[in-house]
């Protein structure tokens, strides 16, 4: 093509592109009477088929509302969401989690759902109370619980059998766990008894609660890390690293301890219920591993419970349609669809059995049993800020660079400062 023609063609192309501007965006202005399309933002590709099925069934019952699924990879989900929300363009309905609920609800980004709950005929008693509380702020409900997860101890049966050690039971104690971990450690074979990663949800949150401590005070103004119970909960893990029953922090940074477990190099590892589906899907692991309830500490076997919630964007252009959809998402039927898919444990009481039954060889019932005693997942308005402090300081405690007591005092001080900023 001769240069001048090429230039003219390109100029036309550019003009055409920029001219398209005015037509952009989604739906034309419409009252709630006409057909409406709402967007549903999620981050897990694996759950997309189940979510799509829910959307389709909803559409079948509400033919004037179409739901469009938007999957954003988890790593980029929150940045993208916050940017979109600031610009007024967040999805109409989207997934929310514990660390972020207060940030969004407390800054007016979410629609209170009391109306939706009433109109949809939902009963908040149908979900674990700890979850309902998680998504309630100033007496208003902002999220409908979607699923939940608790923490369990996964163990490698082959390693136990080879060492002739009894498998963990659901009522074993901290001492049992510690002793077993040391017994199973076999440097010659390169096997560690238990992995102790610097991990909060599937790690020290549970042990601190089981020791009788807490992470954040009920009113959200003070850190619980400075207490002796917290120290006890932390030492549960650091003693494993010190005694060589767990790989070192450096080793666990190079190779994820979860990968080490999957490779048969670690006998026990604490992991959430989300792992069950994954292990069930790997041929080499399906029949080699199993799970037990977390061991009982001084104050019990207390796992933190966390779960996602479905929320509505405050600036949605279709509040009525969004409310209807959120109500459906919180219904028993939607929970059943999730249970069938097996990826997560649905939050609706009584629908969990299907999830349990989908993996009969695993003792996943233990996860459900923990709900009754579970502690609420610790959050505040700017949860991520002090989560980062946890990682930074506790990593130093794990490596021995800082003594546990000193480190925890420091963490408590800095966390208090961060919480004070929020008030």
């Amino acid at each position: 093509m001769r240069p001048a023609r090429f230039l003219a063609f390109s100029a036309a192309l550019l003009l055409g592109l920029t001219a398209c501007g005015s037509g952009g965006g989604g739906d034309a202005a419409d009252a709630e009477s006409g057909p409406v399309t709402i967007s549903y933002g999620i981050w897990d590709k694996n759950q997309a088929p189940a979510m799509q099925k829910i959307a389709d069934e909803f559409h079948a019952a509400n033919s004037d509302i179409t739901v469009k699924l938007q999957v954003t990879p988890f790593k980029q989900y929150w940045t993208t969401l916050q940017t979109a929300a600031t610009g007024g363009g967040a999805p109409d309905v989207f997934w929310m989690n514990g660390p972020n609920i207060k940030l969004y609800a407390g800054n007016g980004q979410l629609l209170p759902l009391d109306g939706a709950i009433k109109e949809g005929g939902l009963d908040l008693g149908d979900y674990p109370s700890a979850l309902v509380d998680l998504y309630t702020l100033d007496g208003k409900t902002y999220g409908i619980p979607k699923d939940f997860d608790t923490i369990g101890v996964w163990y490698n049966k082959a390693i136990f059998d080879a060492a002739k050690v009894d498998h963990p039971t659901d009522d074993w104690t901290w001492d049992d766990f510690q002793a077993t971990a040391r017994k199973l450690t076999d440097p010659a074979k390169g096997i560690y008894g238990a992995a102790a990663p610097v991990e909060n949800q599937a790690g020290f949150y549970d042990t601190i609660h089981s020791a009788g401590g807490h992470i954040i005070s009920a009113d959200g103004t003070a850190s619980g890390y400075g207490t002796p119970e917290a120290l006890h909960g932390i030492e549960f893990w650091t003693s494993l690293v010190k005694d060589g029953a767990s790989p070192t922090v450096q080793q666990m940074t190079d190779t994820s301890p979860y990968d080490m477990f999957k490779a048969g190099k670690v006998a026990m590892i604490w992991n959430g219920s989300w792992a069950a589906g994954e292990y069930n899907g790997i041929a080499e692991l399906k029949n080699t591993v199993d799970v037990a309830r977390i061991p009982t500490g001084p104050k019990g076997s207390i796992s933190v419970i966390h779960g996602l919630g479905n929320v509505i964007f405050a600036k949605t252009k279709h509040p009525d349609a969004a409310e209807k959809f959120v109500a459906f998402l919180g219904s028993k039927r939607a929970a059943e669809i999730q249970a069938e898919a097996g990826a997560v444990i649905p939050a609706f009481n009584g629908t969990q059995q299907q999830w349990v039954d989908s993996m009969p060889q695993f003792n996943v019932k233990a996860y459900i049993d923990e709900v009754a005693d579970a502690a609420a997942y610790p959050v505040s308005k700017e949860t991520k800020t002090w989560n980062a402090l946890e990682t930074e300081i506790l990593t130093k405690v794990w490596t021995g660079e800082v003594a546990a007591a000193t480190g925890l005092k420091e963490l408590a001080t800095q966390m208090d400062a961060a919480l004070a900023k929020e008030q």
Binding site: P3, A4, L7, S10, A11, L13, L14, L17, T18, C20, G21, S22, G24, G25, G26, S39, G41, W43, D44, K45, N46, K68, L69, Q70, V71, T72, P73, F74, K75, Q76, T79, T80, T83, A84, T86, G87, G88, G89, P91, T255, Y258, D259, M260, K262, A263, K265, G272, W274, A275, E278, I282, A283, E284
Partner: protein, 302 residues
Amino acid sequence: MSDTLERTAPRVTGSPSGDPAAPVPPEAGRRWRPQHVGVHAVLLLGSLAMLGPFFWELSTSLKTLGETLVLPPTLLPAEPQWSNYRDVFDTLPFGQMFTNSVLLTAGRVVGQLVLCSMAGYAFARFEFAGRGLLFGLFLSVLMVPSQLFLLPQYEIIASLGWLNTLQALVVPGLFSAFGTFLMRQFFLSLPRELEEAAKLDGANHWQIFTRIMLPLAKPGLIALTVLDVLWSWNDLMWPLVVNNDPMAMPLSVGLASLIGQYQVNTTTLMAGSVLATLPVLVMFILLQRQFIQGIAFSGSKG
């Protein structure tokens, strides 16, 4: 026209055809072979370092998920799992995403070719007050940390009402300080005689540009094309932030979505990465010569 270029070009004396990237005649090759053993040894060692990670990527893409978990890792899969490549198409709407990547890239590249060659030519050949200052302003854009642009650019796109549109993906990428810089360097290295002759003939700037300079600019334009394709192909954050229609996501987003919150679908990710890299690699192989020609003129001046 190319004859004129050869006769007047002062710098290109390396090989008879005046093309710095052209292969040297074989007679020279046969004469020097034995002394090249040392050179080849070093280059091969370097090649191993370059290729090693790719071999790993390929090898992992052909293993089963279980095989990737084995410690210590095995070098080769027991049996190549070609089905992993089919899985990529099952897990991702690969074809759709590929098309989106192509559209996004093509849009930006075409736009930059037009706009940057125009601006670069003006900076190289026109004399006007404040030229240095203006060019300095262009260059300063290059020094800004790119992460800084994300939020403000999003605000602008949102206020223009362009969210979820093709132009949101393409338009900000049409304007490039680097592209202008590259084309300016390129035009600076071309001899002025042709333009002088055309001016004496009464041609205006536009005619000179389109009829004489652009045809000569092919290597520079190809160099700009290759670089732009490389950058646009891997752009991840911008498409995510500005667009939430899953059918409009490019390949970079698709691959990122294989990294879940708790687990990575390693084999599919590796297979997908291999597939996504192929088109760009092929493009580079085909355009190697012109790419280097384009850079030869531009990098060599200040």
